[in-house]
Symmetry: C2
Subunit: 772 residues, 2 copies
């Protein structure tokens, strides 16, 4: 669907309506504010294909597991993101016939998502069966400032006279498409209205999340407010009705103000009053002020988060779309929340937490937001440590070993494929690495004493039990794993997993040693609480000194797993295009037998631990693995961009950058109708900042090594480092650095140390190619 | 449940009723005649736990696949054995209260399955709520002679007077317990009755198997026939009613004669008349004659199939139970039928065809039955060759490569676990081996020209594409397989699969060569039909000359797969008993990582290809693998018995023999309530005949090497070899051989050639231990 949406620096634009593309567009035009979000369904009736989705952060449903063949250790439930009451709903009858864009194709249809302001707008000309014409324009937002409030302004200009019967309401009788047993996940609690508003309360089955949603409308004829709404309620529904006789040339407008509150933040008894309070606030502020507060909030967010790309509108649009969606999804205000792979844009993957958060999202939030936001994400895992320990116990581990779940909402494992659930255990490594990385970016080590060390200990204990001694090899080995490249299952000695497991044990030992040296009191508490015994370090040391890492000496590369070179070695370019993506064309055994790599695996490890290897080693591995990588995971191309830029492979970097940044806009993986790839969007940010910007933060040193793709005339970004914000700007010749901080900061550019003074822009010559 | 059923040479006996054991007993007491079969549910109402199951051979339902995570190549359907209309159903109301053994525990309960005659009998004393006493006795059989007829004789002796309202009928409103979407698989066609009988027709959904079942009853008071039945019909039901005033001391008996016909054998239009014809025949013959025909049929079957074991009733009962159940399941009269792993005793595994048939059942039928029976089983696969080729095409294979399904009813794959469906491909090898073995036993090579060679070619083409050249090893390898030991998945170079695949190519080449030398006309047809090109032989030869077979030189063993010795090497005896069976206690990853072996794998290969290896090699492999084998598959112990006897490990052989022969009677795997392990019962036969009897048939030579376990005082069996039947009898000192044939036959005993004359028993000294 390349070029279906128009290229524009700040906007996503659809011109002309195509029902075949409607579900894809519903995903692309999704809006959200971190507390709630929604696919871009139409307000009015639509009888064509649509994936309805309104989501409330933290409100989920544990759907009973459905598998063909049960295995011991599978979880009983899979936490599903919940399609919640539909608050945009309207039905507009013109002379008794519902407006329905599937039945009557609109003319001059245009839909715009303005990323600068977070406003979703739509306009079209509509002709009824009896040939009466109307012009419709709609604006909608979910307030980034007042995050329990959302508004719609829906205007109809009549080009003929007609009877219009306009109702607007909230419909709680909603279903998940992804429901294992085709159940409704909600129960009714109450529907109510008074003369000025209506509200309903619904409760999720099993976990009893309770949600109250209320609304009121204001109606205008040619901007003159009317007082004509009739509120009513019925089972599962509340609504407002406006009967009007439209006259040619007049514009009829309904503003809908909605409040959505849940018992995540209020007790059940106060839900209705919390909802009413929001409605009262909305009534007082009115549409325009609410809108201004919302757009101001986005404006201040962009100040610290924007990336500009000059001379390449597609690339500019792509990166902004990624940043925008990430900030729509997660605000960092609540440690119970996390970033689901589809955010608020679809049901797939259950909307739960994956290792994506630590491996991809945390660097993004560290680089663009206050440290407190990333810390919430770390706390999320600490709060779930007990469940990770229980999870490991289910699999036969002991002594406080922790295995974090592959997929979770509340800390319990949800996933149920043995090769993933039980074997894709490298996720534990990313969780440890995020703790390390948080310290690097922020300089704040306090989290280690606030639970971080306990998390690290649980993880290292797991590794030390999962690894075993091979008498045959006279080395430690790790069997039966699935690495980041999920196109291999149940392999032995996946290099990445072996490497990160060993790093975890070394880092944990260092952290514990440090605590015991510097904070005896906490160290004693820690030992008591975790029953930590210094003998554990002996085994970790023995493992890390005698671990097997598969490698090939002739090629000078690490091996993705033992036996990888036994495979038939062909390249992705050898694949006929009609067989790609291979996961839509090949049976699973064929994929597994092939040498093709879904996403960075060895290279993922060389990305995380880049400074452990010289650039020649990186080059050999990149040159070997990149041509075998089919990038059929959204998480893959960004890592390769970063390495390609480092190695000076500009064309490859640019090609993969487009793939990551426009993955959803251009629907590379042919699945955008199911929702957006939210977590990988953080990888896109990394691909600009760490790729083309060459940002690295290592051991108290910030460094840059920008390169400018020839398709661009310049680019700029900001990055947070400890208490400073550094703005980086690149044009065809120069590189400009500006420090926003209260002190000088030294950093490295192309390996040279330079000193930055606050607000004193420094310019340097840009290097076309810089290979470390 | 060891010793729950009493030990007896010819009978299975349950004394006393235990509702907890009822489902297990329903399995154990199952009856069948090859065309239909049934679990031993009670005729009268039973409100306790019961697994209802009446099955008709060949009538199945393609249930829509249910998986958690779909993979390309998965089949749309899983063929389920169908619980069909319940023809035993009765309801007996005494003074308005239904007889129900769950509500009123019976006294003197006894249930007997007589294996010699195929009769299921039950008797008990019953006391009503009002303390009235009755004695009940029931006899049931499904005629082995008249295989569309079944009978019940149900007698009630009154020890008090009472009003009895006795109804008996057929209930077509039945469900499968194993239904993926909780659907009813049947539709009604019609229910009818006249004054003397009632019948109904039902149709399966989707495939429209149609079944007509009819019955009539005869009633007796103290053996005087009554004429009092009222027939009726209603939706899904037909029934006969008998209202009687029971008097103390009198016996009331109802004989129920049932006819079951399906459109497997009649067209739909003639189903009712076929059913009526059977009823007419039953009416003419009467209960006693029908019973005699049935028991005579069993008697003649036992003449050729019995194995006697002296001095060990448990062992004797075990082997007869196995032989009996096999002959209840399959008669070899129809090439569309096969032997489901649970036969007619439960729903698990879908009742379909597995590699069990070729690897276990064919040797049994070859050894005990006319060659035509085994040939039907070979034809079954030939008739499904087209589907096997389609199946391979789905997985990316070309040029007529055939992959037979893991599980099938009509030739289409049913199974949906990638590691099994796509990777447990050794099944292809067993199918080829059965063709080879059929020739060995029967001397009849005609099947090769009747499709056998085509099957072999499809299989060898598959192997030649599934194997690839490893540049690293400079050898051919086979990746991503699951061997017979399903406690390893997706391994590389499973020795067994590599070995049998290479054998297939060599054997196929030999067969094709032979055809081209001896039957040019057929060879030309064959080449035209299959597009066979002699160049294919070149690749096969290259593979078989350069194949990699994992082995350990120090230990002198073949390796189950590459890397097996990297595992932590512990023994089954090291496992705490509370962790066994491990498949009920360990998560799947832990099972996979462990060295524990579910069932013979390397040893399965050394069993099939015994004469390719010297006995020292077998001993080293057996000594290594046996202690690591947990025998959690029913197919495992029998193979180890055969090898243990060969190696002179008498105690081990005896222990494993009991495990295989009494697997269900003693419920070793804690799952007999789901049904019996029918296919592994053929392995039990092998364990006696090939194990303790030492039978081998290799290249036109029949050989024996009996050993007598010290727990036995003797044993005997018969074996068919080409046109002869040889009876073998062993006592503490001697071995007796008798030939039933029209010519002399030479065979080997303990490696010495002897000549057998027809009907002239030869006796020889028994060797305590004979190691080749």
């Amino acid at each position: 669907m390349k070029n279906y949406f128009l290229h524009n620096e700040w906007q996503i634009i659809e011109e002309g309506f195509n029902p075949e593309m409607h579900e894809a567009a519903e995903s692309i035009f999704s809006i959200g504010n971190g507390k709630m979000g929604q696919r871009a369904m139409f307000e009015e009736t639509y009888s064509g294909k649509t994936l309805q989705g309104s989501y409330i952060a933290g409100v989920y449903y544990p759907d009973k597991t459905r598998v063909g063949w049960w295995k011991n250790g599978y979880p009983e439930y899979f936490a599903k993101v919940l399609n919640s009451p539909n608050w945009i709903k309207m039905n507009i009858e013109i002379d008794g016939e519902s407006v329905d864009l599937f039945k009557h194709a609109p003319a001059n249809f245009k839909r715009v998502l303005d990323m600068k302001t977070g406003l979703l707008q739509r306009s079209f000309d509509y002709t009824t069966s009896t040939n009466k014409k109307f012009t419709v324009s709609v604006e909608r937002f979910m307030s980034k400032e007042d995050d329990e409030i959302a508004c719609i302004r829906y205007s109809i200009t009549a080009h003929a006279s007609a009877d219009i019967n306009w109702s607007s309401g909230i419909d709680a009788h909603v279903k998940n498409t992804d429901s294992n047993y085709d159940e409704i996940f909600w129960s009714r609690v109450s529907e109510k209205n008074d003369d000025n508003s209506a509200w309903l309360t619904s409760k999720t089955n099993k976990l009893h999340f309770e949600v109250c949603e209320g609304f009121f409308v204001k109606m205008f004829i040619d901007k003159n407010e009317q007082n004509a709404a009739q509120y009513s309620n019925s089972d599962w529904n509340v609504s407002a009705h406006w009967k009007l006789k439209a006259e040619q040339g007049k514009t009829y407008c309904m503003e809908k103000y909605v409040s959505i509150v849940s018992n995540m933040y209020y007790d059940n008894a106060s839900l209705e009053s919390a909802c009413q309070n929001n409605l009262q606030k909305a009534r007082e502020l009115g549409y325009d002020k609410l809108k201004t507060r919302h757009t101001n909030s986005w404006a201040s967010l962009w100040e610290n988060a924007d990336i500009t790309i000059d001379g390449d509108i597609a690339a500019q649009q792509g990166i902004r779309f990624n940043i925008f969606q990430l900030h729509q999804t997660y605000s960092g205000r609540d440690p119970r929340l996390n970033i689901g792979p589809k955010g608020f844009t679809g049901e797939k993957y259950g909307g739960s937490t994956y290792w994506d958060t630590e491996a991809y999202c945390i660097p993004f939030y560290l680089g663009t937001s206050d440290a407190s936001i990333s810390k919430q994400l770390l706390r999320y895992r600490y709060n779930q440590l007990d469940k990770a320990i229980e999870n490991a116990e289910k699999l036969g581990f002991t002594n406080g070993a922790a295995l974090y779940p592959m997929v979770t909402m509340n800390g319990e494992e949800c996933h149920n494929e043995w090769e993933i659930t039980f074997e894709e255990i490298h996720r534990n490594g990313a969780i440890a690495f995020a703790i390390f990385q948080y310290g690097l970016y922020t300089g704040d080590l306090s989290y280690l004493n606030e639970g971080g060390a306990e998390v690290l200990l649980g993880i290292s204990r797991f590794w030390s039990q999962r690894i075993h001694w091979s008498d045959a090899k006279k080395q430690y080995v790790m069997h039966g794993v699935t690495g980041p490249n999920e196109y291999e299952n149940n392999v032995n000695n996946n290099w990445y997993t072996n490497y990160i497991s060993n790093w975890c044990m070394k880092y944990t030992a260092e952290v514990i040693q440090n605590i015991s040296n510097t904070d005896k009191a906490y160290y004693n508490d820690f030992c008591t609480k975790t029953k930590f015994n210094a003998d554990e370090l002996v085994r970790w040391k023995d493992i890390t000194e005698n671990m097997f890492f598969p490698a090939d000496e002739n090629l000078g590369i690490f091996l993705q797993q033992e036996g990888y070179l036994d495979k038939e070695q062909i390249l992705a370019t050898d694949l006929p295009t009609n067989q790609r993506p291979i996961n839509q064309h090949w049976s699973w055994d064929r994929i597994l037998r092939s040498c093709f790599i879904k996403q960075a695996d060895v290279l993922q490890g060389m990305f995380l631990f880049e400074d452990h290897f010289d650039v020649e080693t990186l080059k050999r591995n990149f040159d070997f693995y990149e041509p075998r990588t089919v990038h059929e995971s959204s998480l893959s191309p960004c890592i390769h961009v970063i390495q390609a830029t480092k190695l000076g492979y500009e064309e490859k970097a640019y090609e993969l950058y487009l793939r990551t940044s426009r993955l959803d806009l251009d629907d590379y993986n042919k699945e955008v109708h199911e929702g957006l790839h939210i977590t990988s969007m953080a990888g896109t940010w990394m691909s600009v900042v760490m790729g083309f910007g060459g940002l690295r933060i290592k051991k108290d040193t910030l460094s840059f090594a920008p390169m400018l793709p020839k398709h661009w005339s310049g680019f700029s970004f900001l990055v947070r480092y400890r208490d400073a914000i550094i703005s980086v700007r690149v044009n065809k010749e120069k590189l400009f650095l500006n420090l926003n901080a209260s002190h000088t900061l030294s950093c490295e550019v192309y390996g040279e140390t330079i000193s930055l003074e606050p607000n004193n822009e420094v310019s340097l010559n840009l290097k076309a190619i810089y290979v470390q």
